[in-house]
């Protein structure tokens, strides 16, 4: 293991003069913020394994002096510097993974003072990944090197990254009067073009993803409505409140699990799914039996009655849970995101929601097309009297279908609770969008709703950067109104003899 040995020797050599400084913590505590910053910059340029403990506890905002733990008041600037020191330290670690992460951090935060140290580390780096990451970090600093050859190499290296920071650095280099060497200048231009192309790819992918994500949210919000409105013909204005109740179920599950099974709290959204489904389905069935069943075939009346229901549900939740939004936290596995490209991070919660939306669609499709219940639902919605004559218990089927629609809305509510607010007004902000999705997709058409949701999501996200969120939304509303002119039955319309 020559490299490990090398590193150790090197470290020892490097740090010999500093080893005596046992009073780092005292120094830090005694310093004012400006001096603290200076200290941290020095430490970053000359990392010392002896300081690992110190830095780790500093990151937590604490310092131990003479066995006594003290709280340090940090601000964002100091935290940034501490992270940089940490990365410097970690370059000395034996674990390549740790070194890689450190090198990546240094690409963003390294300062010219660290140049010498990084140079040394690079020379000794055996791991390929770490080596290339580190050389990039170094290249950022070498752009101002006095040797044109070094600058040229650095510029070329930067061209291979898709890092947004590289773009800024190259642009700075290309500013008039900065780079004297013609060769470096040309190379910088090529590199900049390369970087820009890569950034554009990242941006496009990002836009596509955010469109998909918005689409999946619209879909989850609208899917239940596609059943209650699309199949049963009930203009369910209380649909938004079913989403809201689903989200509140999530909140209650989270609360209960925190109290009784705190060890499994990470998985509360999974428990919340069935709970939300059955709670909202149950409420939906009660509503169907008490109010809606008297109103079949009178769609405009269902609109008014369900609007009344929605007002009462909102106020009920306000009285029970308070007008304030409630706290629904993302569990760790739904926090953060995966870095796909230097300028593209896909948040986990959004990825999970897209997958979840598709799952729900598939399950709904299976339920409607492959089960007895689905057959009954379709029969009743197409010809109620005929179905009744064939022995289909229409009342029960209506109730179950409405329950199903409400339950799916409840599932949507669980997903919505992971990306936004949970408050009594949650449903109100989704109801108009949901109706537009169902109408645009073609009433009663599951596939249509899916297409419409994703179409609207992506269109929204393409328009937003161009003309802003508000105008984008207005434009889309206008387009939908025009589209409905052309195809009053929506995207997926069943043609047929019109029955009067």
């Amino acid at each position: 293991m020559p490299t490990a040995l090398h590193r150790l020797i090197l470290a020892c050599l490097l740090l010999l003069p500093l080893a005596a400084h046992a009073g780092d913590a005292e120094d830090f505590l005694a310093a004012n913020p400006t001096q603290q910053a200076k200290l941290l910059q020095d430490w970053a340029a000359q990392p010392d394994p002896a300081r690992v403990e110190l830095i780790n506890s500093l990151q937590q905002g604490q310092l131990t002096v003479n066995g006594e733990t003290k709280t340090v008041r940090l601000n964002n600037r100091l935290r940034g510097l501490i992270n940089n020191v940490q990365a410097s330290q970690q370059l000395l670690a034996t674990e390549p993974k740790v070194r890689l992460a450190a090198a990546q951090q240094l690409q963003k935060s390294a300062t010219p003072a660290q140049l010498k140290f990084l140079d040394q580390q690079l020379a000794n780096e055996a791991d390929d990944d770490v080596h290339s990451a580190l050389s990039l970090a170094l290249a950022n600093l070498q752009l101002v090197d006095s040797d044109p050859a070094v600058r040229l190499a650095a510029v070329r290296l930067l061209g291979d990254t898709g890092d947004p920071l590289a773009r800024t650095r190259l642009e700075a280099l290309l500013a008039p009067g900065v780079e004297a060497d013609a060769a470096v200048h040309t190379a910088a231009e090529t590199s900049l073009a390369q970087v820009k192309r890569k950034l554009l790819v990242g941006e496009m992918l990002g836009q596509a993803f955010s469109g998909m994500s918005l689409g999946s949210i619209l879909l989850l919000a609208a899917l239940g409505l596609a059943i209650t409105f699309g199949l049963l013909g009930v203009i369910n204005m209380a649909h938004g409140e079913m989403l809201m109740l689903g989200a509140y179920s999530t909140y209650v599950v989270q609360l209960l699990m925190q109290r009784y099974v705190p060890q499994a709290i990470e998985f509360y959204p999974l428990i919340a799914l069935p709970v939300a489904f059955f709670v909202t389905a149950g409420i939906g069935m009660v509503l169907e039996r008490t109010v809606i069943r008297h109103l079949y075939g009178r769609p405009l009346e269902t609109l008014l009655a369900t609007w009344g229901i929605s007002l009462m549900l909102i106020q009920l939740v306000r009285l029970v849970f308070g007008a304030q939004n409630v706290e629904v936290a993302n569990p760790a596995w739904l926090s953060g995101g995966v870095q796909v490209l230097p300028n593209l991070v896909l948040p986990y919660n959004r990825i999970v929601i897209i997958a979840f939306a598709l799952c729900v669609v598939v399950l709904t499709w299976l339920l409607l097309n492959k089960t007895r219940l689905g057959l009954n639902v379709r029969a009743v919605t197409q010809n109620r009297n005929m179905a009744a004559c064939c022995g289909v218990p229409t009342g029960r089927v209506d109730m179950l279908a409405f329950g199903l629609g409400s339950g799916i809305a409840g599932l949507g509510g669980v997903a919505l609770s992971q990306i936004g607010n949970v408050g009594p007004d949650l449903g109100q902000s989704y109801i108009i969008d949901s109706f537009l999705v169902v109408v645009l997709g073609g009433v009663g058409q599951l596939a249509g709703s899916v297409m419409a949701a994703f179409g609207l999501g992506i269109a929204n996200k393409i328009l937003e950067p161009q003309i802003g969120a508000v105008l984008g939304k207005i434009l889309i509303l206008a387009l939908i109104i025009l589209f409905i002119q052309k195809r009053p039955q929506g995207l997926f319309a069943l043609k047929g003899r019109v029955i009067d």
């Binding site: 009655a305 009344g308 229901i309 109104i481 052309k486």
Partner: protein
């Protein structure tokens, strides 16, 4: 279904009582502004507060009547009438803002660093042009929307959802500051109208009288329409549109006429509402407001002329009382009202009264 028996009974007993009640109410409404001019310590004095409150409810009653023309008679439930109401209000508000700002730009424009008026503000310093806008803005929008909607036979629920989307889009548009209508704040701090101070008791009384007159005029128009063959065509349209087409009537023209008429009435109501309450802002366009208007009509009794007025009065009166007495239960009450009316009172209060009158 209307029972012929009941019809004749109502025809026999109806007019006298109805007219008597109508005359009394009208007399009270006409007396209110005069009483408000009495000195404050007089026993009969009507406060400015009462006058503006009743004036506001009267404006709502006109909206309810206008909505009833399209919903009760022609069977098209609009969930976007708040938009027309607000457009009328904004048109009047533009004039009032110009009056308040004198030669300069309205305050919110200087705040956006605009140096000149946008083209659509041109001429709004003239009261007559503002009046034209009050009619034209909601009228033309209704014409354009109706033209497309009726051409492609959007009806029933689709029509309701589309109108809702329309008013929602309008609300978003007017919330934007760049649109040039004061954004979220809208228009407020009016000073004078036609040179009279907006807070003068005399101005208030005149505005109130104008509202009463508009209400009476709307009632008359509605009554004439309901009596004419046009009214019968609308009813036919509501019940069997296809049959009507095969009789050779083009439903689009009939729908469009009543739709635009209704929008214009709403616009006029909005124009009278704004100087009385002293503010117009985009929340008037929120879909909730328009749905609430549908409940006034449903509660009062759709397809009748008095019903919507009654509904608007009852709901708003209760709202004033409930939000003071039990603010937390107002929404429960309103929600329950929606459900009870649709389940048990399909003909509204008027239907209930007729039934009772018959027994």
């Amino acid at each position: 279904m209307n029972q012929p028996l009941m019809l004749t009974a109502a025809q026999k007993a109806g007019p006298k009582v109805t007219i008597a009640v109508g005359v009394v109410i009208l007399a009270v409404l006409l007396a209110l502004p005069l009483l408000s001019l009495l000195p404050a310590d007089s026993a009969l004095h009507v406060s400015a507060y009462t006058l503006t409150l009743v004036g506001k409810i009267l404006c709502y009653a006109i909206v309810a009547l206008a909505l009833d023309l399209v919903w009760g008679y022609a069977g098209m439930l609009s969930l976007g009438h708040g938009l027309f109401f607000a457009l009328g209000g904004y048109a009047m508000g533009m004039y009032l803002m110009r009056q308040a700002s004198g030669e300069g730009l309205p305050a919110f424009m200087t705040f956006l660093s605009w140096t000149e008026l946008p083209w659509y503000w041109v001429g709004t310093e003239h009261f007559l042009w503002a009046l034209c806008l009050v009619v034209l803005a909601p009228g033309l929008l209704a014409l354009a929307f109706g033209f497309f909607a009726f051409r492609s036979r959007i009806k029933g629920v689709y029509f309701s959802i589309m109108t809702q989307a329309l008013t929602f889009a309008g609300m978003l548009l007017f919330f934007r500051n760049e649109t040039g209508f004061g954004g979220n704040n809208g228009f407020t701090n009016f000073r004078s109208i036609l040179g009279f101070g907006i807070t003068e008791p005399g101005t208030r009384a005149v505005l109130f009288l104008a509202t009463v007159l508009l209400l009476v005029a709307s009632l008359y128009i509605g009554w004439r329409l309901a009596q004419s063959k046009f009214g019968r065509v609308l009813t036919a349209l509501r019940d069997a549109e296809n049959r009507l087409m095969f009789c050779g009537y083009d439903p689009r023209g009939f729908k469009l006429f009543v739709w635009v008429l209704s929008a214009v009435l709403c616009g006029l109501a909005g124009a009278l509402y704004v100087p009385q309450v002293g503010i117009i802002n985009p929340s008037e366009m929120s879909p909730t407001n328009s749905i609430e208007a549908a409940v006034w009509v449903a509660l009062g009794g759709r397809g009748t002329l008095i019903g919507p007025l009654l509904g608007a009065g009852v709901v708003n009166g209760m709202k004033s009382w409930f939000t003071v007495a039990f603010p937390e239960y107002w929404l429960f009450f309103l929600g329950a009202l929606f459900i009870i009316v649709t389940l048990y009172l399909p003909k509204g209060i008027i239907g209930l009264l007729k039934k009772k009158g018959e027994q």
